[in-house]
């Protein structure tokens, strides 16, 4: 049977014997074009424009005739006497009755929304031996080269989609080792993808392979730093901390944002009518006592400094966990205090559920009351306000 492989080094074989070395580059390109358009006819004129754009009409027609003859000669008819290519005066096309195998057509038939099985996805994955028409370039055939570029994008995108679905199915079937293998392959394709990294770390954590988790995280962190000069995102950091804190035998590690339920914190606060931001400062102070201060100190320093204008405990914590050296806090405009307070709460809510109890809400200062109104309006599922 005829077999056409367009991914990686192009190979065309018949009954297992390669005939690629007997085909010119243009002829291979012509076959590829016809296969890519296998569901329709292609006019000879169009094919010529792709492959011999600089030739005059007669030369192009001759080239076309010659190459079609060559195909007929090199690719025999099938058992039923069907030719691979159907040729008419003005057009030609792949004969849909002719049985042949083509990696690209298999991949094109993949429907990301359809039903999938691990077996089918693995078969598809195996087809990706390299880029579409690897090593191919036809000088002056701009349109054809654009097709190669376009198809490379399509194939790479499908490749990653297939891998994602495969990883998903492995996860559903709790086949962690295979899932891990696929995720590592995906990471090789998209080395800075933090979602993939998160999943890998989660699997290591789940399977108790802490050493691998730590090594993997450090390597990933170092790669991000070296090549992009960025730090891993918060999800990944939290997950890593969970892994390392487990390792230290701590029982009160960070409740996971990405896995499991968030830990609930009950915050009790009081109000003082004539003191600006008193309630907000109370909440910050109570949170510092109840939550993991080390985590809270991961908030951007600028917000910590702004917020410390109303709650000095923040600076003391910062000094304890981060640095004894910090900038002086001068007068901070109201808008920055409010913004910093909201950022602080939002940072805490990334890993905690907060039940904030207000003992004497009637005495709330006006600035805090406005902030509270804003929080209530935003209705975050992670914050519940109880006015006693």
């Amino acid at each position: 049977m005829l077999s056409i492989n367009m991914l990686g080094q192009v190979n065309i074989s018949y009954n297992g014997v390669s005939i690629a070395d007997r085909l010119s580059t243009k002829l291979v390109a012509m076959i590829c074009l016809l296969v890519l358009n296998s569901d329709r006819e292609m006019s000879r004129e169009r094919l010529s424009a792709y492959l011999w754009p600089d030739s005059d009409e007669e030369a192009a027609r001759y080239n076309m005739r010659y190459n079609l003859w060559k195909v007929k000669k090199l690719i025999p008819s099938d058992a039923k006497g069907q030719s691979f290519i159907l040729v008419s005066k003005d057009s030609c096309r792949i004969n849909q009755q002719y049985k042949f195998q083509c990696d690209k057509l298999c991949i094109d038939s993949y429907d990301s929304h359809g039903q999938k099985s691990i077996e089918k996805l693995l078969q598809l994955k195996e087809l990706f031996k390299g880029d579409f028409l690897e090593g191919f370039y036809l000088k002056n055939c701009n349109e054809f080269n654009e097709i190669i570029l376009f198809e490379r994008v399509v194939c790479q995108t499908k490749h990653i989609e297939i891998m994602k679905q495969l990883a998903q199915l492995y996860e559903e079937e709790d086949r962690s080792e295979e899932e891990l293998q696929i995720l590592h392959e995906m990471t090789a394709m998209e080395p800075y993808n933090e979602n993939f990294a998160c999943r890998i770390l989660s699997i290591y954590k789940k399977t108790g392979n802490r050493a691998a988790a730590i090594n993997y995280y450090r390597e990933f962190e170092s790669k991000l730093r070296r090549e992009l000069n960025i730090a891993p995102n918060n999800d990944l950091k939290i997950l890593y901390r969970e892994v390392t804190e487990d390792l230290c035998g701590k029982e009160d590690g960070y409740p996971g944002k990405t896995t499991g339920e968030k830990k609930k914190l009950v915050i009790r606060s009081r109000c003082m009518k004539d003191v600006d931001y008193f309630w907000a400062a109370e909440v910050v102070g109570a949170l510092l006592k109840a939550a993991d201060q080390k985590y809270l100190m991961e908030l951007n320093l600028n917000y910590i400094l702004d917020l410390s204008y109303i709650q000095n405990e923040l600076l003391l914590s910062y000094e304890k966990y981060v640095s004894k050296e910090h900038r002086e806090v001068g007068q901070v405009p109201a808008v920055r205090i409010v913004n910093a307070f909201l950022k602080f709460l939002s940072h805490a809510c990334a890993i905690y559920k907060l039940d904030i109890h207000i003992d004497n809400p009637g005495d709330m200062d006006s600035s805090s009351a406005k902030i509270l109104k804003h929080i209530e309006a935003c209705a975050s599922g992670s914050i519940h306000i109880y006015k006693c």
Binding site: E227, V322, K324
Partner: protein, 515 residues
């Protein structure tokens, strides 16, 4: 290479750079300085010297140490197509065509392309480059390596990660050949990794010939890391002792384990705490003059920086952090203060690279911490003063950049570098630039400027016991100038020529006749 007979250099103004001592002559035996003195005493060597060099009254100095140098990339760039002067697509096309004609079917790597300089005010796409070269891959880097532009051939030739962020597509979803962000990082890494080390060796050797002609006998090689390639650092590491001059490797990585495994004593170099003034990414405490609302940015949180610096202290690694804007300097200093407080470890001579906008407070804190400032005076020659880049970006704050005099007065050691190939590998131009700083208050004496490129350079890599000064017992790294630098008018220093460069007793370059 051992030889029994000495080399005599006489009739020179030999600035030993140690305690202000000057000699008239020095004698080199094998790889070291074996004698030095004044007056006619040199005559005793006339008979037994194998080589006699008449310095003809020129200054004789310790071999120059360039403390910030991108060896491999500068070497590779020296063989690349310089597009920095292109002002239009047509200019780019002419240069690409010429290169394609000179080396048919060979890969063309263009560098230094700046869209801001182009009449079209944008980067060309693949269809533009295709007009000038269709039968070889053309890979063009923008001026700060943040963007690559490829012709169609190159897009098909190189392995392009099309699913990554940073691929620009046209309306038909076909890549335009303009590649940025993650895709650009990975593409550069792939391309640079694909260069064989034999090519690196050949290119670096060729390039070092021009470096030697500028009197440089030691460079601090800032290799690897973001926008460069770790393979460069590994190449330099493996080439120790095989190159014409001494190379002190600064591996720009945060992988402390790797550094320990390689048994290196230092880490960093281009660990970017912030960005550049050119791209308006250096972290400032004020807004960019030509981009209101933008104060640049830090690449680390204070906590991240603190942790890393602390680990470097704990592992007793000398650390070199890239800091340009005042906020970056502040962050680095804070982290050093934190690490010192936590570990109590001193004496590692940590360095801040570039340090272009320090405040007096920064300088004083750096002094307390024992930090060394590794600075590039030639920046002032190129970007300093009215009407140039510093003023464009920083407004009146351009008067605060590179305050050499203030730093030296406060007792902080400055070692000088070129940041080659950002500026030319030319210590005499560096010395000229420090002496002729556009802001008078920041100028330094010629002697202080020479120190930056000699003894201070040696100090900054813990090599002051063997180089950096002309003293008996030190390595014979020597440079002879064509005139007396101390008697040269300040504005003519850049015109001084290097006549002879000697590395460990071997003459690598000589334009002086022997009597």
């Amino acid at each position: 290479m051992k030889k029994d007979l000495p080399t005599l250099i006489f009739n020179g103004k030999c600035l030993s750079m140690a305690d202000g001592i000057e000699y008239d002559w020095i004698v080199v035996t094998d790889e070291k300085i074996s004698d030095a003195g004044s007056g006619d005493e040199y005559k005793k060597y006339l008979q037994k010297a194998d080589t006699i060099i008449d310095a003809k009254g020129g200054t004789v100095l310790p071999g120059f140490i360039d403390s910030h140098f991108h060896v491999v990339q500068a070497a590779l760039n020296s063989r690349s197509l310089d597009l920095s002067k292109a002002r239009s697509f047509r200019d780019i096309g002419a240069l690409v065509s010429e290169a394609a004609k000179a080396s048919p079917k060979k890969n063309i790597r263009g560098i230094g392309l700046d869209a801001q300089n182009l009449k079209e005010a944008r980067l060309p796409d693949r269809t533009v480059i295709d007009k000038y070269c269709k039968d070889a891959p053309v890979f063009i880097n923008s001026v700060e390596y943040q963007t690559s532009v490829l012709n169609t051939y190159a897009l098909l030739y190189y392995k392009i990660p099309f699913t990554l962020e940073g691929i620009d597509f046209d309306e038909n979803q076909v890549p335009t050949g303009i590649i940025t962000h993650y895709a650009n990082v990975l593409l550069r890494e792939n391309v640079l990794r694909s260069i064989p080390n034999s090519t690196r060796m050949e290119t670096v050797n060729e390039f070092l010939e021009s470096v030697v002609q500028k009197g440089i006998t030691t460079v601090n090689a800032m290799e690897g890391g973001r926008l460069y390639c770790d393979k460069d650092a590994e190449f330099i590491y493996e080439s120790t002792g095989k190159l014409a001059i001494d190379i002190a490797l600064f591996y720009s990585t945060m992988d402390i384990m790797k550094i320990k495994e390689m048994q290196l004593s230092r880490i960093g170099g281009c660990l970017y705490v912030d960005g550049t003034f050119g791209a308006r990414t250096s972290a400032l405490s004020f807004e960019y003059n030509d981009c209101p609302g933008n104060v640049g940015g830090l690449n680390f949180t204070q906590k991240e920086m603190n942790q890393f610096v602390r680990e470097c202290y704990a592992n007793k690694l000398q650390l070199a952090l890239y800091t340009i804007g005042d906020r970056a300097i502040e962050q680095a200093l804070t982290a050093h203060e934190y690490a010192l407080d936590k570990t109590g470890i001193t004496g590692l001579r940590h360095r801040l690279e570039h340090v272009e906008l320090p405040t007096l407070d920064h300088i004083r804190r750096a002094k307390k911490l024992g930090l060394v400032f590794s600075m590039s005076p030639t920046y002032e020659y190129i970007w300093g003063g009215p009407g140039k880049l510093y003023q464009e970006r920083l407004g009146d704050n351009y008067k605060r950049t590179n305050p050499f005099n203030q730093i030296i007065r406060e007792g902080v050691v400055i070692c000088g570098g070129s940041d080659c190939d950002v500026t030319p590998a030319d210590p005499l131009l560096g010395i000229h630039s420090a002496v002729n700083h556009p802001v008078e208050a920041h100028r330094v004496s010629v002697y202080e400027a020479i120190k930056m490129f000699t003894c201070n350079g040696a100090y900054s890599i813990f090599e002051e016991d063997k180089k950096g000064t002309l003293e008996v017992g030190k390595l014979a790294d020597v440079v002879i100038l064509d005139r007396d630098i101390l008697a040269t008018e300040a504005d003519k220093i850049k015109d001084i020529k290097v006549m002879t460069t000697m590395k460990s007793g071997r003459i690598l370059y000589n334009k002086l006749s022997q009597p």
